[in-house]
Symmetry: C2
Amino acid sequence: MSADPEWRTVRRVRTHEQVLIQIQERILNGQLRIGDRLPSERELVQVLGVSRNSVREALRVLEAMGIIDAHTGSGRDAGSTVAGRSTDALSNLLRLHMALAQFRLGDLVDVRIELERLAVRQASAEADPAELTQLRSLTEAMTRPGLDHERFHELDSEFHIRLARASHNALAADLMQALRDAVKNEMLAAFARVHDWDAAVASLTAEHLAILTAVEAGQGDEAETLVARHIRAFYDSVGGESPSSD
Amino acid sequence: MSADPEWRTVRRVRTHEQVLIQIQERILNGQLRIGDRLPSERELVQVLGVSRNSVREALRVLEAMGIIDAHTGSGRDAGSTVAGRSTDALSNLLRLHMALAQFRLGDLVDVRIELERLAVRQASAEADPAELTQLRSLTEAMTRPGLDHERFHELDSEFHIRLARASHNALAADLMQALRDAVKNEMLAAFARVHDWDAAVASLTAEHLAILTAVEAGQGDEAETLVARHIRAFYDSVGGESPSSD
DNA sequence: TGCAATTTGTACGTATGTATT
DNA sequence: TAATACATACGTACAAATTGC
């Protein structure tokens, strides 16, 4: 076969990839930090000895990953600066791979449940009063009658994401948001399959309230149990194939 | 203030973003599926009425996200095809955001523990005999004396990732791999801080064996407990600041 | 109003890689 | 083997839009 250890197959590295690698190295080294400005496109062209196209392709990739921001014009914001908001990029990536059926919805639900458990457990231990107040007003907003699917989903997502933020685990919170974004359409479709919408809203909201009450009381174990049941129950009632019970 | 609801600030959408959006829409719609070929760059130029650079910038972004593959030449592989390997892209994204100190290491460890628990629980229920055999030979490979840090980390990672794959939850497995990749350097640094390396290897390997034995026996709860302790113990011994006990 | 710095968009030319004939 | 067709890869050059001074 061709597995001769003497010879390594030549991996052709395109020039824009080399640019990408060099910039990424500087980020991983810590030479480039949040808020820093990169050299302008034309400077990079000179320093790296490549064409502007290659530089721009690399910058576009970094931009899509949420690593840098680019602004036209001169002064202050102009040029590319190291940014660091991951969530949109993460959501987008997960959503696309969901659409390519790379991940089953059931798998995603299972992962989400574990994240939710982590979130409520930690939130029970270290949520600020201000965060709890916000959460409580969110649950109240969900009791307002006549919410349509879209609006309810928004509030529902915000409740769960804020709960995750209250755990002070940024990664868990970002993943939670990405997962929610990625399955938004599936969730709306699931809402459409609900027979008695008002009753569903009432019970979901009641469950939110119970979870929040446990968190406020610092009862992490109770909150974990409640949130796991909350998600599993809804998914089982309208979600479709059960992921592990067949 | 500038928060007048009458006026929406114009969000200028760059052309390559519009190209990106159109392609993403087709993926989200299901019009483009894994294995499908996109029109060639020059065809897209004609159909979309934009320049070739804009098309290529969009394709580069999709490529970096692991959504498409690009190959030169004619026939079969040529042009851009919808691919769908997410893992590298996910790892890369998480690693960069780790470097930007967007996520604390302790947060990442907490998330990882939850994923590991999910993995071993599900693996206990539905791992194939073939997967279990592979895992067992992996644990044996780790008992070979004289492994250096790099090699041990490789085997360690592979054990945990294969365990996650054995759970048949693709998302959990991919996330696990991404998290492992993202903290590889931190792990190697932690290894360097270990006083008695041989003893550490011995106990880590023994723990792997115990976890695997529980999984083989279908004892999900036991496996969960063991894996959580396995990770927490190592992290507490060399990892640094304890994430939740202060 | 104008000027400078910067990104953004387009057009075109050439080189390179791959499969078919 | 050579020729051909097709596709990406890379570069240069120029015009437009945006922002600050």
